[in-house]
Symmetry: C2
Subunit: 190 residues, 2 copies
Amino acid sequence: MEVDRGGRPALTSAHELAEVAQNLFLELGFDQTSVDDIAAAAGVSRRTFFRYFSTKADVLWVESAAEIGRFQDLLAAAPPDEPYDEVLCRAAPEALHHPPEQRTWALHRAQLILSVPAVQEKAAVRHAEWRRIATEFVAVRRGSTADDLVAIAAGHAVLAATLGAHEYWLAHPEEELREIMSRMLRLLLP
Amino acid sequence: MEVDRGGRPALTSAHELAEVAQNLFLELGFDQTSVDDIAAAAGVSRRTFFRYFSTKADVLWVESAAEIGRFQDLLAAAPPDEPYDEVLCRAAPEALHHPPEQRTWALHRAQLILSVPAVQEKAAVRHAEWRRIATEFVAVRRGSTADDLVAIAAGHAVLAATLGAHEYWLAHPEEELREIMSRMLRLLLP
DNA sequence: AACGTTATGGCACACTGTGCCATAAGTCGA
DNA sequence: TCGACTTATGGCACAGTGTGCCATAACGTT
């Protein structure tokens, strides 16, 4: 944890900005919402927004660091003799699982990711971190390195399953994302 | 084909702009090359560049339409009783295969796609067309629709294999991209 | 020569993202 | 209480992207 060394208290927070932004996205659409709009709605200057998020689309991934942390923890805690595909099929769906009260926003975010090109673009880069972690994990378990064909394939499979699961989820929102993700991973993992 | 109805002859072409741009990317780097630089080097105005390509990164996908066309043709020409995974494993690697003289530029493009975030972002969207076509193809062969879990997974597998194959190729440039792509697809296709 | 057609050039504009600097608002120690 | 230090904010200028709009250039046809 960070030590409080005084200083001016923050007027806002990443989560508050993200909430304001998501509401505007719902109301106006992603492209039609400018950073000025978000900053104004949050009672903060444009410059300050860019201190919390380096791009407009990044507000959609406030939880990203936490999810990635969970993913890494789950991988690290897995029994060393468990096959890597079983570990991934368990860890990945669990890591991106949301509590029910976040379901509506998760659906909205999924829709933005799959439909708005500008968001879709950023998503690929954000998800690359998941891919990197999975590739590394598989490489270690296989006793190879990160340029191993199977490890690379597994990393991309995790990424593909994440996107594919969200796509299927949008068409079948009554199902559980975690469950879909698990099925998708079993289909794709090498 | 288009009918020539007169009009002012074009000063340049998409391929010429793409060639000029790629050389500048090699020389200065992608982010350090502005559209003004490209336009000036091609002896054309900035506005004209944006009539040929809607974004700076799009010059990297001049061949995209041709590749996608080949992919669709190969899928359409496949025997109706051949399993869908075998068709894809044959068609996709064949469609993105380059003649040897384009190899250097293909490698350079692959490097840009995997290393420069701004390019990586666009790549995901450009490749979405491949994904859509594969999903549609698998859905038809399975007698389902585009919201079928397996079809969605297959579509993302094609996308993942494309990216993964390029990643492996960069680490092993002495191998054939077409061959790598084929192996990667067999690992990933459901 | 007049006309339609197509490509180009130039300009203004909104927006993103960054660097820089001044200022506000806290804490801590003398 | 005062100053030093620390952190958050605001404002501004700037480069760059991408778009809309309009004028103009260069071709063909009649």
